[in-house]
């Protein structure tokens, strides 16, 4: 299997702090990968580097065969890499539907067909009945789903999800897991997710990358990784013990 996304020795420093330290891994096409690790491990920084929101100090990021580490966030998205934000950022004054229309307009010239695509996605993410609402009035779980819908509207090859399960109730988590799994299975969408909710990670990911203090301390199949002593000690701790 060829790697859709490939990181080679990617590093990022903030003044003295090394946020991401020589991280390398490949995400093959059609797979669901998860990045886990304690708070401050550098997960979101890693996402910002991949998505073009930040430029790495060293290393290279290749997506679909081309280097993307020098591209801006919008250029990266146009190549087919969409992301959500850990602290959700919907367009607050726009309706739920218009939020998704904006995403769909990336590859569509006319608003009517973008609207059609938005309807389709809102249905898939259980937001159809709220499509006329102003995004600012949504509850957190709905906003998280809206983020996913808007990202999907840009027709990505890979979706980067930054803690979309955080703050959801277990039933809502299961629903999100089901939605993501269906997207992956039906349209072959590759997914890379940062997640703290281990229940979701175990249910979704076929491969887990573990970060701690910016370094990758383990990677592999989820059931193997969660038994790794280094991972247990640095991250899972009492929860796994």
């Amino acid at each position: 299997m060829t790697a859709l996304l490939s990181l080679q020795n990617v590093s990022k420093r903030f003044r003295g702090l090394v946020a991401v330290d020589q991280v390398s891994f490949d995400v093959p096409e059609g797979m669901i990968y998860a990045v886990i690790g304690p708070n401050g491990a550098g997960k979101t920084t890693l996402f910002n580097l991949i998505a073009g929101a930040m430029v790495p100090d060293a290393g290279s990021i290749t997506f679909a065969g081309a280097r993307i580490d020098c591209l801006s966030a919008d250029a990266v998205c146009r190549r087919g890499l969409a992301r959500t934000f850990q602290l959700v950022r919907p367009f607050p004054a726009l309706t739920v539907e218009d939020n998704v229309v904006v995403g769909a307009l990336l590859h569509r010239r006319d608003v009517a067909s973008a609207r059609e695509r938005a309807h389709d996605l809102l249905r898939r993410l259980d937001l159809s009945d709220k499509r006329g609402q102003i995004a600012a009035t949504l509850t957190l779980p709905d906003r998280k789903r809206l983020e996913v819908a808007r990202a999907l509207a840009t027709e990505p090859k890979i979706l980067l999800l930054d803690e979309v399960m955080a703050g959801l109730r277990p039933t809502e988590t299961d629903r999100m897991v089901a939605i993501l799994r269906e997207l992956n299975r039906k349209s072959g969408l590759t997914i890379l997710l940062i997640e703290h909710v281990m229940r979701a990670v175990m249910a979704l990911a076929s491969h887990v990358v573990v970060l701690d203090h910016g370094t990758m301390i383990a990677q592999g199949a989820p059931d193997v990784v969660v038994r790794d002593p280094a991972v247990v000690q640095s991250y899972l701790g009492a929860e796994a013990g």
Binding site: A73, R83, F91, A93, V102
Partner: protein
Amino acid sequence: MIASAIAWLDLSPRAMLFLVLLGAVLLIAPFIANDYLLTVLILILYFAYVGQAWNIMMGFAGQLSLGHALYVGLGAYVSAVLFTRYGVGPWIGVLPAMATAVTCGAAIGFLAFRFRVAGVYFAILTIAFAEFARIGFDHLDFVNASAGLFLPVAQYAHNDLWRLRGSPAMFYYVILAATVLALLICRLLLRSRIGYLWLAIREDEVAARAAGIATFRYKMYAVMISAAVTSFAGVFYAFFYNNLFPEQVFNISRSIEIILGTIIGGIGTLFGPILGAFVLTGLAEALNSAMGHFGLDLPGAKQVFYGICLLLVVMARPHGLWPWLAQRIGVAEPRK
């Protein structure tokens, strides 16, 4: 064709009725209004027009310009110089006038957006460029510097629309047509692809970039389109008032006057700038004439009045009068 135009407007029957009534009143106004009232109406429509032009940049794309007098002034000076020195009429002169304004807007936009000058700093940059122009034109002998540029005024036997020489009624219809045209342009922009991308940028630029929007390019479009639309107001200004002084046209208070009506009417709405112009300019002129009636002469009373209006609206209706009024009379625009 009229049927399709109505369908395109996509208005409720009630909104349509209001629009028809308003249109009828505005169309016959010159026949019933005296010269003074007509001049006030011209002033109102002038502010409704420039307010809409500014709204494209701030209300749609979220880029705060406090220097729109620059584009008015450039439009005025370019068309006036062409007319007085080379005999080029305003409808030809408007093209180089627009081109000049667009070029300046593009230069400011490029500097700001390329070097990530945003928010308050962007607003200060727009003030700075308007001030450069004011001081520059004040020393530019080619346009008579601070002595001012005058268009020949004579008694005209008939209205010469082609050369924009004639009675207030003619100017009234010109600015009325321009205001309606601006409204149609704004509506077209807001409902098309570019409008959605602008709103996304206005709401959250980081999220807009993450959704693949080339924010630099679309912000540039916003500045350039806004500058082009604004510059026609300058052409109108020059030919209506027949005199131009850099100290007046480029003054920062002009830039503030341009935006007040829109803030009061509702930033980012289609009818807000128009309503705001009627309310603000209408009341200010009423105040002026009332004070004149009682023999009061208080310099700065208008500015104080503007300040009070702004204060009241910001406190009571922060989204402007139009969204509130539209709700009350049942013609609300779909929220954008």
